[in-house]
Each structure stands twice: as C-alpha cells, then as structure tokens.
Amino acid sequence: MTGVLVCFAAMAALGIATPYWWWIMAVPFAFGAAAARTKGVALRTGLISAFLAWGVAAAYFYGTGSRIIAGRMAAMFRLERPWLMVAVTAAVAAVAGGAAGYAGFAFRALFKREK
C-alpha cells in the first residue's frame, strides 16, 4: 500500500511538473527495480498506482471542463460514452505501469545472486 501511495504521488507530481507522459512507466520500473519484494508486488504496485494517477486526474478533468473534448475523443475512438475516455485513460496507464513494474523487478533480479 505504501508503495502504491509513493508511486502514485511521484507520478502525479512528475506528471504535473514535466511535459512527459512516461512517468507512469519510469516510476513503477524504478519501484520494481529498487523496492518491490516480489514480482507480484512490482506488477500490482505499478498497475494500481498508474491506474490511480491517470484515472483520478482524468476523472477530475472530466468533471471540471473536459467533458466536451472527452466526448469528441470518444467519438474519434468510436466509443459511445464520453466517460469511457476516463476508463480508457486509466486502463492504458494500468497496463503500462504494471508492465514497467514487472520489468523493473526482473531487471533487478539479474543482479541478485541465486541461492
């Protein structure tokens, strides 16, 4: 849970402060490589924190002025409901974050001495 919160906070802060989208992958990768105890934790932490970081932000913007553009983007992607763009945004982040977390853990495993 702490990992999720830390990753969530880091992604949100870096997303706001910089113009780069890939913090949702870099942060879970770093967490997986540096702090995750198991591959499952690495994957789940990346997945949930990225899902929350983009999902909460998208939901916030959806409710505060982005409903029209979400509707147009939904139409572009042939989705019937504007709010589905919130779900798509969160889902894409979850997949990217989860994969990055797992990859980070596997990367660290390379340097672990096998018992």
């Binding site: 113009p19 989208w21 990217a96 990055a100």
Partner: protein, 825 residues
C-alpha cells in the same frame, strides 16, 4: 531463466512504451494523447473564459479586448500596428492550429506531418505555384509601408502566442497528429489568401472542352455551353449604360514577355488535347458560390439601405471565418476575418457595408508547351526559343524518403503536370501545359480591405477596390448616405471572346495574355433604378458589355430568385432579409418539373412511382427539410441529365460534361423534340417523355433501394443530410446528420457539405445594426463550447444580432468580459 524473464519483460515494457509514444499510421501516440496532465484532457473549456490581463510584447500601448456573450472579440487599439498585432494574437489563441494546418496545406507541406498519403496533394499545390504566388504578393506588399506594417505586426502577434505554448497548451490536433506548431510569417498569411483564390478561380474545363471540340465540333459546344445562356438575369441589370467606349486592343506585340503577329486564329492544340475529359461533371451537386444584395432606401422601411451577404464554401470546423470587431483611430470595423490574415474581409463600419460573391471569370488558362529537346531547357515562343526556368521542390515525407522534383516554368507559369505524368485528382490539369493564372500576379488585396475598413462613402469604396486583383469578386456596397452599388472587380485579362475556353499554345502570339481590362471599365452599377443590386455568381453582364470575361458562370436559379423577390419587395426590414437568405424556392424545379411531368402523362407507373408522382404534383417547389418532393426531384433531375447528356460522348470523347441547368431547361421548354433526348446507344428514337420516364423510374428505384418505401428517410433533410466535417477530417470533430432546408441552386444554398459559410445582414443608418451567423463558432478548440456554438441556429436558418461597440468603455448588456493586452517590456 531469469535472463529470459528479464529480457522478455523489458521487451514487453519497451514495446508498450514504443506503442504509446509513437504515432502508428493514423493512430495517434496514445501515451502522450491520453496523459491527463499534457494530453487531450487539457484542451478543455478553460479558454472559454478569457483572462483579465495578457502580455503581448511589442505593443506601443495597452490594447483592450471586449468579449461579448457569444465570445466574439472586439479589439480596441491605439494605432494600426497594435491593432494588427492584437488581432494576430487573439486569432491565434482561438485558431492557431487551423491557420498552421491550412497554410501548410496551401504550401504543399502536409506530407511532412501526415506522411505519404498527402504527397499527391502537396505535389499539386507546390507545382501549381501557390507558394510562388504568395511570395510574389509579399514582395509587392512589403514595398508598401502600411501593408508591410500590418502584415508584420499580425505575424508578430501570432508568434507571441505561439511562444506561450507549453505542450499541455497545444491545440489538440497537434497531440493527435503528433506534430509541432511552426512560427508564423506574412507569406503564410498570403498562402491562405492564395488558397482562397485557387478555390475560387482554379476550376477549369479547358482540356475537356478541347477534346470535346475535336469530337463534337465547336457549334455543338457553343450550343450546349453558350456565352450568353438563357434564363440568366445578369449581375449588372440589362440595359445599364456603360460610361466608356472600349478602346482597340493593342496588337499582340505588346503581349507579356515578347511576341507579335496575328489575332486569334484557330487554336493549335497538340497531343495534350487528346487526353480525355474530366469524368462527367455532376454540376447538379455543386453548391460553391455566394449571394449578396443591397436594397436601397426606396424599398426599405427605414428609408436607408440594407445589405446582405452569404458566401458559400465548403463547410468545415473550425469555421472558415473568424468573427471580430477591430477599432483604432479612424477605423471601427466589424465582420469576419480569414483566420491567419489581418483585418476584416466581409463586414461593415459605422458608415458603409460590403459583401463578396465570386465572379467566376476565366482567369486561368493552359498553354501547350513545345520543348526543344528532352532536357526541356528551352521552349518555343513566338519568334524563337526561350529559356526554361526550373524550380526544385523538395517534399519531406514523414516515414518515407524525401521526394525531389524539378518544375519547369515558362514565362506564363509552371508546367503543373509533366507530359506523361499521371493526372491529379484535384483538377483537370492537361499534361505538358503551362499554367497562366491571375493568382500568380503580384497584388495587394489587403490594401482593399484596409481601405474598406476606413471607408466613409462611395468614393472611398471605389478607391479601395483599385487594388483588388484576384480572385475576381462581385463586391456589393451600401452606405448610410443611401448609396448602393456593385462592382464586378478584379484585374481581368483583356481577351477576345472565347480566348482561353480551349487549350492555348505557348508559341502562338495571339494566344498570349496582353493587357488587362482597365479597372474603371469593369462592370458596375450604382443606384440602379430598380432599387436594388444583387449577385449570385451568374453572368456579370448582358451581351452589351464590350469585353470578354469568361463563359463558365453559375446557373441562373439563385440570381433569378433573388431578383424576383427583390423586384416586388417594399418596406423591407432587416428581418425580411434574414428570412430571404433562407429562401428555399427551387426555380429549377418550378421551370422544369411541370413539363417533365406532362411529358410522362399516360405512362404505366408502379404504386411507389405513383406515390412519388403525387409528392411532386402537390409540391410548392420549396426545398424544405421535411418534404419528400425535393429528394425525388433532385434524383430525378440527376438521372434525367445523365440520360440526356452522357450518351453525347462520342468520337473518342471519354465522358460528357453536362450543360448548365438553364440550357437543359430551355431544351425541355422550347425544343422537346431535340435529338439530345434520343439515346444514341439504342436503335429506336427516344423523345423527352421516354427519357423522363426512364429517369424517373431510375430515381425512384434508387431511393427505394436505399431508403425503402416513401417515408421519413425520403425527406430532403434526411436524404441529403448535411455535415460539417473537421478541416483535417478527424472523426468526431465535426457535426454530422444536420437536417437543413436548401440545396444547390437555392438561395439557402446548404448542400451535403457546402453552404453559407457566413450570413450577414447590415441595416445602414445613424446607428448601424447587423445580424449574422457562422456554421461554427469563434473557438477552434474542439473541447470548447464555442467551437460549434452557432451550428444549430445556422442550420435552422436563424441569425443573431451582432454586437457593434463604439468604444471599449461602452456599456452593453451583451458584454461578457474584458481583457487588457499589456506590452511586456
């Protein structure tokens, strides 16, 4: 094993990263696009409420912007340069992506951001020479202090906005298409104007006419494509006296460049003429044109003139036009600007109002070029060989290797399509021919709109028109002193009748453009006795006008209907004029349908055909969205033309262009026995009734196949629904399935994807008042509620009062907010 796992997981993560970071074909880079902090989510409604203060470097003094309740900016500046800078800045805030995209389109550079799919379009515009045209104009305009000042200040204002953009602020289209904004320049403004010129003058059928002359003979073409068509009520009222006598044209030795010799002999057309014609022009579906008129005080309730204008263009979002009011000392103008270009194009000030319709004059010719050898370094001119100039065009293509082409230029213009090269889909370009186009001539149309903006009376209006060259326009005028007028304005080549109707020859002296028609001898009328002026792209004059302007003008219907209404109008109000802009009477149907129905009398109709006949018989000829008759007639007329004309293609002519509706109607009314109604491909001789019956049967079958039995789907508004697509064709960013009255040849000219791009009615007087509507809104942001805020009212045929302020401090209930643009020193 752990190596495998590590590599596999990193490969998957890398693939996901790559998948989300890069555009794949037309699929956007999803990671960047979906990012809530910098992606599409930030293209929200924040911009709908302008801030109270904004920095704009370079201003001499603060500029005040008043926003009305429709979020139209009213800009008040202390001098012309500040005004232009502020206009560039404010326009860019709303429309920069549109400006950037369309100017790249005109420059032939879209394949740089969209890839190989746009290469043909780019090649066409680059080879057509729009960039050269814009550069030539800038060379002229930059030598004139006022236009240089305005153009440079406008560009500076645009760039001031571009410099404020962070990635999250980018218009959403940049995020979808994965490209970057480019700095603005005066030449980019002029590219937009040249694109508009191309849209209005770039059409031609010279190659087809030449092939048709060989196949059918000139007499047939003169009959089917007459210089003085029937039923047309010209722009300048018949009988108007010309206050000049045409001087004798100079001999051909004074042609542009060099030359000498005879006078319009038989046109020589080499092999390029053998190329087939354009595939049967379906003129029935073209709704690019415009209406304007002005009614004098003799016919208005106020005793002062009223002017109306609705230019018909392709319907797109963001809107073609940007509404704005501009005020500086000596200038207070309101109307619409072209996003990306300074000042107001169509509009009014406190004293005068003006509006445009395209003149449809022939200002584009093709010249066969004979090169001396395969190097193409020299080509034949009268009296010898001239050196070819080559311009190298490099096309950078996203995701592909660059393409480099050398375009040959003669003294007339570019060889747009090399001999043996495939045809362009944009236009019927003859292979191996050089283009001569008025749009390539240096000109300063900006000076016209600058002077109009400052105009106070008729003399100012006439003086303003002097610099208007291309595209030729019918420029309607009305003022608070009670004057109305219309000038058919442009810089038109002085030619013999029919010159340029067929392909010309670079080596024939008499084919060359010589002088221009003196501007003061352009057709015009001021305060005509009938109490109104009007134009709807039809023939400008009757046969008494002593110069030749062209032959391919618009069909008679809109012009005739406008004049019909105005001729009996009394005590006219602005509301009457707004209603008139949405008049739906179909003159084509009123003229042609009764004799067509009569010709089919006694035929054996099926039940569904009888029902369709019933709809037509009871029709009041109005193209209303809820009626079935307009749909049935539209299809009937299309089938009737196809059956009457397509079989005329013979003797090697690949396809047949249809004559204009007035020619066909004249045949129906006066020559029902005409052999044109015989289907040449069948043995028995058919007559009008046979062709009409076959066409009607085919039309009903087409409708039944597509929409079932007569009902809701047959109604005009559903059968030809209207769409306003996004300018880059991004799905979901336009408006679909609009149910509208109107149609081709109707005053309310709404068609499938063309129609009135702006409606304006101005009542002149001590306190000028105006009404208008755009099929869109002020904002170019698809996430804004002002992106398409006018569409529903436009579709319903409404117009809204236009706020016109005398000063920035004026109190007005329609004012929503104010912004001060501060010079950031």
């Amino acid at each position: 094993m752990k190596w495998v796992r590590a590599l596999a997981s990193r490969a998957i993560a890398a693939a996901i990263f790559w998948g989300l970071d890069v555009r794949h074909g037309t699929f956007p880079p999803a990671g960047r696009l979906l990012d809530p902090f910098t992606g599409f989510w930030r293209n929200d409604t924040r911009g709908d409420t302008p801030p109270g203060k904004l920095d704009l470097p370079g201003l001499a003094a603060d500029v005040r912007v008043v926003w009305d309740s429709r979020r139209i900016p009213h800009i008040f500046a202390g001098n012309d340069a500040d005004l232009a800078r502020a206009q560039g800045f404010i326009t860019a805030r709303d429309r920069f992506w549109q400006m950037d995209f369309v100017s790249r389109y005109a420059a032939g550079r879209l394949s740089e951001i969209l890839g190989p799919s746009m290469l043909e379009s780019d090649r066409f515009f680059r080879r057509f020479g729009l960039t050269v045209a814009a550069e030539r104009c800038w060379a002229l305009m930059s030598a004139e202090a006022k236009t240089r000042e305005i153009m440079e200040a406008y560009a500076a204002g645009v760039n001031a906005y571009v410099r404020t953009l962070g990635r999250s602020d980018y218009p959403v289209e940049y995020k979808i298409l994965d490209c970057e904004p480019e700095p603005w320049t005066p030449v980019r403004s002029l590219l937009l104007l040249k694109l508009m010129s191309y849209d209005m003058t770039g059409f031609n059928t010279d190659a087809w006419m030449t092939a048709a002359r060989t196949a059918l003979g000139e007499a047939v073409l003169d009959e089917l494509f007459p210089f003085d068509p029937p039923l047309v009520d010209p722009v300048i009222p018949p009988g108007t006296r010309w206050d000049f006598v045409r001087g004798a044209p100079r001999p051909a030795s004074t042609a542009e460049g060099e030359g000498g010799g005879g006078h319009i002999p038989e046109v020589r057309v080499p092999a390029i003429a053998a190329r087939g014609a354009s595939a049967g022009d379906d003129v029935d579906r073209r709704a690019i044109g415009s209406n304007n008129w002005a009614v004098s005080g003799l016919r208005t309730r106020s005793g002062l003139p009223i002017l109306a204008n609705d230019p018909h263009l392709g319907l797109v979002l963001p809107s073609v036009w940007y509404e704005v009011q501009l005020a500086a000392p000596g200038l207070n103008v309101r109307g619409v600007s072209l996003p990306g270009a300074p000042l107001v194009v169509i509009g009014f000030n406190e004293r005068i109002a003006w509006g445009f319709t395209n003149s449809f004059d022939d200002v584009l010719d093709w010249y066969a070029v004979k090169f001396r050898d395969a190097s193409r370094s020299e080509y034949e001119r009268p009296g010898g060989w001239a050196t070819t100039e080559f311009r190298t065009e490099e096309f950078r293509v996203r995701g592909a290797k660059p393409v480099i082409e050398r375009v040959a230029w003669t003294k007339d213009g570019p060889v747009v399509r090399d001999a043996g090269a495939p045809a362009f889909s944009q236009s019927d370009v003859p292979a191996g021919a050089a283009l001569r186009w008025s749009g390539h001539d240096p000109s300063n149309e900006l000076m016209t709109v600058y002077r109009l903006a400052r105009g106070r009376n008729y003399d100012d209006y006439v003086a303003a028109l002097a610099s208007w060259t291309c595209p030729g326009q019918n420029i309607a005028y009305a003022d608070a002193e009670g004057t109305i007028a219309i000038w058919h304005q442009g810089r038109f080549p002085l030619r013999e009748k029919g010159q340029g109707r067929y392909l010309l020859d670079e080596a024939v002296p008499s084919d060359a453009w010589r002088e221009r028609i003196p501007a003061r001898e352009n057709p015009y009328v001021r305060n005509p006795e009938r109490g109104f002026i009007s134009s709807a792209n039809q023939n400008p004059t009757d046969g008494t006008y002593p110069y030749y302007l062209g032959w391919d003008f618009e069909s008679f219907e809109r012009g005739a209907r406008i004049n019909e209404i105005l001729a009996r109008a009394t005590s006219v109000t602005p509301e009457d004029m707004v209603r008139m802009q949405t008049d739906t009477l179909n003159l084509r149907a009123r003229a042609a349908l009764p004799p067509l129905l009569e010709s089919m009398r006694g035929r054996d109709f099926s039940d569904v055909e009888k029902r369709a006949i019933g709809e037509l018989v009871t029709w009041n000829f109005e193209n209303r969205a809820g009626l079935m008759a307009p749909s049935i007639f539209s299809e009937f007329w299309s089938e009737f033309n196809a059956r009457t004309w397509n079989d005329e293609a013979r003797n090697g002519l690949a396809s047949m262009n249809w004559p204009k509706s007035e020619v066909t109607i004249e045949l129906i009314l006066k020559h029902p026995e005409s052999s044109y109604f015989d289907d040449r491909k069948t043995a028995p001789r058919e007559g009008l009734g046979d062709i009409a019956f076959a066409a009607f049967r085919a039309a009903v079958k087409k409708m039944t196949d597509r929409a079932g039995q007569p009902g809701e789907k047959w109604t005009w508004g559903r059968w030809r629904s209207t769409r306003i697509g996004h300018v880059a064709h991004i799905p979901g960013f336009g408006r679909e399935n609009l149910v509208c009255d109107g149609g081709v040849g109707i005053v309310n000219a709404i068609e499938t994807d063309t129609g009135p791009s702006w409606r304006l009615v101005v009542a002149l007087g001590p306190a000028v008042a105006a009404w208008g509507i755009l099929p869109g809104g002020p904002s170019g942001n698809p996430g804004s509620k002002y992106y398409d805020s006018g569409v529903d009212e436009w579709a319903a045929g409404k117009a809204v009062p236009l706020v016109f302020l005398r000063s920035a401090d004026e109190s007005n209930p329609s004012i929503a907010s104010r912004t001060t643009l501060r010079s950031a020193r």
